[in-house]
Symmetry: C2
Subunit: 510 residues, 2 copies
Amino acid sequence: MEHAANTASLYEQYVTELQRIADVRYSAAVLQWDQETYMPPAGAGFRAQQIATLSELAHSRFTQPSFINLVNELSDRKDLHDAGQKNISLSKYDVEQQAKLPSAFVRRLSETVSRSFNAWMDARRQNDFRVFLPLLGEVVELKKQEADMLGYESHPYNALLNEYERGSTVELLDNTFSRLQEPLRNLLDRISRCPQVDDSLLHQHFPEQDQWQFSMQLLEKMNYDLQAGRQDKAEHPFTTNFSSRDVRITTRIDEQDLSNMTYSTIHELGHALYEQGLPADQYGLPLGEYASLSIHESQSRLWENNIGRGMPWCQSFFPVMQHFFPKQFGGRSAEQYYRAVNKVTPSLIRTEADELTYHFHVIIRYELEKSLIGGTLSVEDIPAFWNENYQKYLGVTVPDDRRGCLQDVHWSHGSFGYFPTYSLGSLYAAQFFESAKTAVGQLDEKTAKADYSDLLQWLRQNIHIHGRRFNSEELCKNVTGEGINIRYFMQYAEAKYRFIYAFQTEGIAI
Amino acid sequence: MEHAANTASLYEQYVTELQRIADVRYSAAVLQWDQETYMPPAGAGFRAQQIATLSELAHSRFTQPSFINLVNELSDRKDLHDAGQKNISLSKYDVEQQAKLPSAFVRRLSETVSRSFNAWMDARRQNDFRVFLPLLGEVVELKKQEADMLGYESHPYNALLNEYERGSTVELLDNTFSRLQEPLRNLLDRISRCPQVDDSLLHQHFPEQDQWQFSMQLLEKMNYDLQAGRQDKAEHPFTTNFSSRDVRITTRIDEQDLSNMTYSTIHELGHALYEQGLPADQYGLPLGEYASLSIHESQSRLWENNIGRGMPWCQSFFPVMQHFFPKQFGGRSAEQYYRAVNKVTPSLIRTEADELTYHFHVIIRYELEKSLIGGTLSVEDIPAFWNENYQKYLGVTVPDDRRGCLQDVHWSHGSFGYFPTYSLGSLYAAQFFESAKTAVGQLDEKTAKADYSDLLQWLRQNIHIHGRRFNSEELCKNVTGEGINIRYFMQYAEAKYRFIYAFQTEGIAI
């Protein structure tokens, strides 16, 4: 009895301390959100310093010996309740990983990526990779050091992959990508022999103000809780959260392309619904956090592609779009819209790519990062590597850096090892979507009526509510009965594009 | 030589540590700014916790023995440069004060005022003081404890006054307010015997969007650096800063009253120009901070009243207003506008009061707070005290709590002892303005051309650049040759209202 009380009180200490650390982490996230939405430009210098201080503080508090001892002590307690045991076991792993990095290193990395983000913005403005080069070089150097400190087997990139997706390795990804490429190529070949889809209805003038209002309606109708979230404009769409009761997204609007805003908004909505569905009573604890980046991405992809680029969604939302854009969409049909947003064609920009060629955008980045972190590619040679591989994989010629290797924000943030989770996310999304269809009766009919409550409830109960309790593969097995399997994505894609491009079924070999 | 190097290195340590602490303080300020501008309502609970954690962290780091020892060690070093000696001497005072408060108390106060802010918002919505009462009671209890911990002579309110205005006491304020009241009453009496000014041109419909655009132009023309600042909308206008390179203001817009937005914007601009003028190289150090709240308020008042409610300003800006509001202001003159914005009349709302009756709004709050903290007034009796004194001092009947004791945000923030600095600020403003007129040639002519560069430069050089180097009275003596003297305010007011109300000069007895 006394021992039990003692365990309960130790656990209470652990919860309080971890929640304090979360307060600091989430505060840093507020500062970052502000940096990318509203901060006046002259504030950048001190802001970088402020974020670095919070990052260093959170890290040093998380890795202080008294906290590590507390976690270790609790990990031996058998009288701890189940959720407590799971939290402790995940925290034990986390502190062991984080303790490999000195707090001064964490600070230095934070300061460097803030400066590097600004350099990347400048480089984009000037459309010149060389402006970004010195800072990117510093970031890559630090990330290599980080890999060395974290330790790895066989490839330094594994250490970085593992930070976003525990257990992910070059070996596993090489395998997945190589298995994915052949059926993807076959499908793309068949599509390329068919008459191309007409997507001209998407490329009209769509005034910013109308797009904004449409996006707000979209979010509301698709169950985003605006009492616990908001949307703002930013250079780059992202989702961030400061608890599951304050989950924010950003969007950017291109007046010449409605689908750009629409699908980026649904994508971020998917991320946001996941964060809003995490258990608030586990604030700051592992069970209150997302399972992994690939699972996070499975949620954004599922809503963006499996739902948002599906015919039932188009049936329910095209009339709404006609309401907002009567001139542009008058006399057009939901099916025309559906075909247009599913046009398959190799392109330059990842975030605007179709669901099939998208994977090649990821593979190029994956190969590039692997070489960069592995030391066989130098930072100076990134543009050449990039342009060469866009030619090789997608057959497109990169006209300039802005539409080439400067298009993504990730490297400026020091996010190496992040891109592969996008492809994994699409694969998981298709697999989850198949299970959802079985579990939620008449999903298509409900989607066609813009009724997402059953689907969302299913995602909440099967995925969101568990937080980090299961890793990606465990979760996938629980939900779908098996681990990741590219078959689901290929079947989904095969059926969709066969309808759109009207080619003969040849069967897919995977 | 070795000793000197040692001092330099100790001072370096001190600067680094204090700047880290400032990073945390300013981070909390970002979270507060967000809370009052953009935060979705459901985020309030965790946000209160996050701000409390940062406040506690900043406090405990500031009062840790190693830092106190460092400051004490440096305060004995004679080989420290002048700016260093001044910083150390101010920090020594600050740590001694702060060390009287336990960090757990700081956390509890922070959490309580966050909850109390939300209760105050609810109470305003419901127009019912009783909704605010329980939380206000908690806050007052904590502030009394704070006064006891800080220590005081003769009156516990002195401890709280001293936090905003070092050296300020009930005795000094009683004296100042009693000396101010008689000439103020005389002037008001004379005004009341004159025909009233017609201010109907201010009370038309001014669309929100047009007011916003006018306010942005106002800020730009009045030298607000929008590269190092921004304006947003909030329930209550305020200025905040996260360095002197990121100084933000908020405004609120009443479509039935243009002067509400206009003068609240110029007021916040005055605060913001001060913060933008503090030396950036002293970031986080005492010399990088404002001198005192009354000096801060002198800057907002000088721009709002001495400049913004003056004839030259009206001459330059009325045409701009006619441009934004052609229907409302067509056929009206700058002089009509000038008279309207200087109408003197007892009213219910402090922030909308004229320059004369304003002081009575402050005196009522001062008397109330003194009784509350002194223990002779209980929280329940605030509305009765309030209403009675509005009748007594201003002759107005308070119709409801929203227009009565719920009108100000300050108590919900735990800011007791703050209001008196508003009156002191007006007195300093008039005194500084008189010196500025002598030092800056042709100030009226420049103001009439909307050229504020010489005035701003004078304020920068004489007030802003010094940060906290001088306290209010030292600064006042340096700038004007004497300490605070109500004569300047009364002379300024006498001349202004004699012109507007056309009464005979009887001389002012002060």
